[in-house]
């Protein structure tokens, strides 16, 4: 059975592309969520997940806030959360890692290598 991944991004296009990439090139089962709130609901209703891939900049509840809610007992502590961000730079990367993210993937990502990149992070 393939691993389950919760994909959180407010952009339809990116959700579509990432889903195709991760399901067809990688071997993930992707559950997409269009907002932080939807993601928290999905964990309750559709869980458990093996990993979370989440955009940083989202309306209402952004990535870091959603992560905080997840870590407040919604999501088991061992489940890795990886951020997708269009803001590059070491400072931003460090900030996200300090919030408890397992890794950061920069936008734009190459859908052909995204699953590999994700796996690399998960393998530590």
């Amino acid at each position: 059975m393939s691993q389950r991944l919760l994909l959180v991004d407010d952009e339809d296009a990116i959700r579509t592309i990432a889903t195709i990439s991760l399901e067809r090139i990688g071997e993930w089962t992707v559950v997409p969520a269009s907002s932080g709130r939807a993601a928290l609901e999905a964990i309750q209703d559709d869980g458990p997940f093996d990993a979370v891939l989440m955009d940083v900049m989202m309306p209402e509840l952004d990535g870091p806030s959603t992560l905080q809610h997840m870590r407040d007992g919604v999501l088991p502590a061992h489940v890795p959360v990886i951020f997708l961000t269009a803001k590059i730079g070491q400072a931003e990367r460090d900030r996200l890692l300090s919030l408890g993210a397992s890794g950061v993937i920069a936008k734009p990502f190459d859908p052909m290598t995204l699953p590999e990149e994700l796996q690399h992070i998960l393998n530590g």
């Binding site: 952009e11 296009a13 990116i14 592309i17 990432a18 195709i20 990439s21 067809r24 090139i25 900049m57 269009a86 803001k87 590059i88 730079g89 070491q90 400072a91 936008k107 734009p108 990502f109 190459d110 859908p111 052909m112």
Partner: protein, 856 residues
């Protein structure tokens, strides 16, 4: 230069033993003479009285001649004393002749040759007075002095005329010559009076003050004595040796004193040139107003005795005096109103400049930041009225975050202070200003006020902020759709949805490569903006050069293989660099990317690392088409490529080299290029090297990963001296922060010392050789940079770990200047005293571990 001069003045101002002896002798002589006057212990009143004058004359003659000898430095002064002595010589000769006549005749004849010498005394003395060095004066001032002098002379003249001159002229029964000589005496007195007026009214060097006052006193004695003598002669009551002669003796003794008081004036010490001349003595200006009332008093006295026939000549003199006084008053008032007008005009001008200046200006009291005055512009900037601000507390206008900046200011650092700083407007909004401070000193040179000139740069600051935000938002907003485009294209290109027709595939490939190019361009623009704004924090760490090169070549290997270009690495030396590794890899990737792009097939791109002086030198050489000589500099500018078609063909953003050079320069290195058309180009850049102890630490770590723990510990021990047990020295001028740091750090393993100035720091380091030095940079007087520079020269800090703890934003040049031994930079903005404590504990801990393990 100053000290010997000062000493000299000191020596000269206290009279030497010879001078004291001379003064005592003069005093004794006066006592002897006075006792003779009272008791007549020797008979022969007339001859002896005359004889007593001669030693006084002689003393004055010698003293003035010696004074002239003491003044080779000032021609005018020497000439003054020589004329004085000539005048006194004439008097001496006259007195000797008179003594002869007094001995020869019971009733000395009149006039005689003695009178000729007596009269020449007046003229010579007057000439002497004209030789006194004086300050140049304005025309109007000269007129005033002249008028004042005339009033004094006429006032004195009224007295002389009434008592002596008039009666002498009217008295008959004498030969014409005798009458003329009789008249000449009071005229001579008037000449002396004019000279005296000139002496008192003009500005003379202050160092001559005592001598000139004595000369004036002597002259006054002479004038008074002459008038009394003249009166006595007229009424036939005077004989030589009368008590009035005392004034003559006194006159010459005073002249002698004046000569003695003359301090030596050596060559190059002309008091007229070296003295700082003061304004004319204001006391002298009321002299005319004493003489005038005397004259008028006389007139009234005469009038009351002879009501119908006033002495016409006296009336004439007094009318002249009255006229002169009136003219003098008029001139003074004109002058006063003129200067007052000029002063008011200048004040009005300054005020207008102050008020209408395009910049805000405040004047603050140095003691306590109380606002003394502000201009209109300043009050408009901060939104208060000037009345509200005056007398108010400057701190109320200061943005809370900036209070610290002001606290660090002191009298030494105020002048030349210039900073972009925030203020608080009345409505609570922030005002960004460029503030320049200067000290305003009072006449004595004591700083009293601080003048602040403030330029409103809020708009610029806001624009900068908007630009930063704009670039950041654009970066992000462009990336989001690009992510979708690139993603969709990538999936198509990757054949996820099945194979595409060849033409379609090549179109997709074109779209992919151009999307990538667009992404790179956006990244580069963001990079360079961050770099320019100084927002890139370099995370400096020791790393081997070969490691960075290996990383970079790995990244570009794929591109090189595709371009059929070979990558070669030559390691002449493998220094441990002290750099931000990621950014240096970026530089290398950039240069390698360029080199690969412009290299022909089957050629080799060579990366070389070696040493250049105390720095690492890295080069990337290709065999490409080369760069024309006139483009060697411009290629480092933004959006400059050798050929504008390169951008399209080779897919570069035109920012790569600009970013690479900027990164290298932020590290304190340099980048240059050498190239020959058709032969290829070589890009060179230099980077700072970590010092020896850090190098060992890095080697230790690296070996530790592969070798045994024991190996690693042995190597760690090698750096143990760098962390020898001992003292933590805190250099911090802010008392509260200093206290917090020492309190936080002080526990049983650590001894903490606190100093507040650069000077104390250097001394304390020399004395206690601290194992850790926590250094603030902004110190009163000399800064923390000075500490490092002095230690670099003296070199006792090899074993000390340096923590630079500062509120300053350090650029790479600053960091390089501060690099000394193991150095870390901690920003006060982000590092708390607790963080410092943690770091210090880590350092101490690792030192103790290595020492303990080393011992077992």
């Amino acid at each position: 230069m100053n000290t010997p001069n000062l000493n000299h003045t000191k020596k000269a101002s206290s009279p030497g033993p010879t001078a004291i002896a001379a003064i005592v002798a003069l005093g004794l002589y006066l006592l002897v003479y006075l006792s003779w006057q009272f008791f007549h212990w020797l008979p022969g009143k007339q001859e002896l009285g005359q004889a007593f004058l001669i030693p006084a004359d002689m003393a004055a003659l010698c003293a003035t001649l010696l004074a002239a000898r003491r003044c080779p430095g000032s021609r005018r002064l020497r000439s003054f004393w020589l004329w004085m002595s000539t005048a006194i010589a004439a008097e001496t000769i006259a007195d000797i002749f008179l003594l002869k006549y007094n001995i020869q005749y019971n009733e000395p004849p009149f006039p005689t040759i003695a009178d000729a010498f007596f009269l020449s005394f007046y003229v010579l003395l007057f000439i002497a007075l004209l030789r006194v060095p004086v300050a140049p004066v304005t025309l109007i001032k000269r007129l005033q002095i002249l008028l004042d002098g005339a009033i004094i002379v006429f006032g004195g003249g009224a007295v002389v005329w009434y008592f002596v001159l008039g009666p002498t002229a009217k008295a008959g029964g004498q030969s014409t010559l005798a009458t003329a000589v009789s008249i000449a005496y009071p005229v001579g007195d008037l000449i002396l009076l004019a000279g005296l007026a000139a002496l008192l009214l003009r500005r003379s060097p202050p160092t001559l003050k005592i001598a000139l006052l004595l000369v004036a006193a002597g002259m006054l004695a002479s004038i008074v004595a002459d008038v009394v003598y003249g009166y006595g002669v007229l009424h036939d009551t005077y004989r030589s040796g009368d008590p009035i002669d005392t004034l003559y003796v006194l006159e010459f003794l005073i002249f002698a004193l004046a000569g003695i008081s003359q301090k030596p004036v050596h060559r190059g010490e002309d008091p007229a040139l070296t003295d700082n001349w003061r304004q004319p003595d204001p006391r002298a200006s009321w002299l005319p107003y004493i003489t005038a009332p005397i004259g008028f008093g006389l007139l009234i006295g005469v009038e009351s005795r002879r009501p119908f026939f006033p002495d016409l000549s006296l009336v004439l003199i007094l009318t002249v005096i009255g006229g002169l006084v009136a003219v003098r008053q008029y001139v003074s008032l004109r002058e006063l109103s003129r200067t007052e007008r000029a002063r008011r005009e200048s004040e009005r001008r300054s005020r207008a400049i102050f008020q209408n200046a395009g910049v805000g200006i405040t004047v603050n009291d140095l003691e306590g930041p109380v606002i003394v005055d502000v201009n209109q512009t300043f009050s408009e900037m901060v939104g208060y009225t000037p009345e509200e601000l005056r007398g108010g507390d400057f701190a109320a206008l200061t943005h809370p975050d900036e209070l610290e900046t002001y606290q660090s200011l002191n009298v030494k650092t105020i002048d030349g202070f210039q900073r972009e700083i925030r203020f608080l407007r009345r409505d609570g909004t922030a005002l960004w200003g460029s503030l320049t401070l200067s000290l305003l000193r009072d006449e004595a040179g004591i700083p009293r006020y601080v003048i602040g000139v403030l330029q409103d740069i809020t708009t610029r600051k806001e624009a900068e902020q908007v630009k930063d935000e704009f670039i950041s938002v654009v970066g992000h907003e462009l990336r989001t759709p690009l992510t979708s485009i690139r993603g969709s294209l990538g999936l198509l290109e990757g054949g996820v949805f099945g194979e595409l027709p060849t033409e379609a595939a090549s179109m997709i490939q074109l779209a992919v490569s151009n999307t990538d190019r667009l992404v790179r361009l956006i990244n580069d623009i963001l990079d360079i903006e961050r770099m320019d704004a100084g927002r890139t924090e370099l995370e400096l760490a020791p790393v081997k050069a070969s490691e960075l090169i290996a990383n970079a070549t790995q990244i570009v290997q794929m591109t090189a293989t595709q371009a059929q270009v070979t990558l070669a690495t030559e390691i002449l030396d493998d220094p441990v660099l002290f750099v931000d590794g990621d950014t240096i890899i970026q530089v290398l990737v950039n240069l390698l990317g360029n080199a690969i792009k412009f290299s022909p097939r089957w050629s080799t791109v060579t990366i070389t690392v070696g040493l250049e002086g105390a720095r690492a030198l890295i080069s990337v050489a290709d065999n490409g088409r080369g760069i024309p000589a006139d483009r060697l500099e411009t290629i480092f500018e933004r959006f400059r490529q050798v050929d504008s078609s390169d951008a399209r063909e080779k897919g570069g953003s035109g920012l790569g080299l600009a970013i690479a050079r900027s990164i290298v320069e932020h590290h304190g290195g340099e980048m240059r290029v050498e190239s020959e058309i058709g032969q290829g180009s070589t890009f060179y850049f230099t980077l700072p090297i970590a010092d020896a102890s850090v190098t060992m630490l890095v080697c230790g770590h690296q070996n530790g990963e592969t070798g045994t723990n024991a190996d690693r510990l042995t190597e760690l021990q090698a750096i143990a001296p760098a962390l020898a047990p001992g003292i933590v020295l805190v250099v911090e001028d802010d008392p509260s922060l200093g206290e917090v740091l020492t309190k936080t750090l002080n526990h049983k393993e650590i001894t903490t010392r606190l100093v507040r100035t650069a000077e104390d720091a250097v001394e304390e380091i020399r004395r206690s050789q601290p194992s850790i030095l926590i250094l603030d940079l902004m110190l009163p007087g000399e800064s923390g940079f000075t500490v490092i520079e002095r230690l670099r020269v003296e070199g006792p800090l090899n074993d000390t770990h340096l923590l630079v703890y500062t509120a300053l934003d350090l650029n790479s040049g600053d960091r390089e200047r501060l690099q000394l031994g193991s150095t870390e930079f901690l920003s006060k903005a982000t590092t708390t005293p607790q963080d410092i404590e943690r770091r210090v504990n880590e350092l101490i801990q690792s030192q103790q571990n290595s020492v303990q393990r080393g011992a077992t």
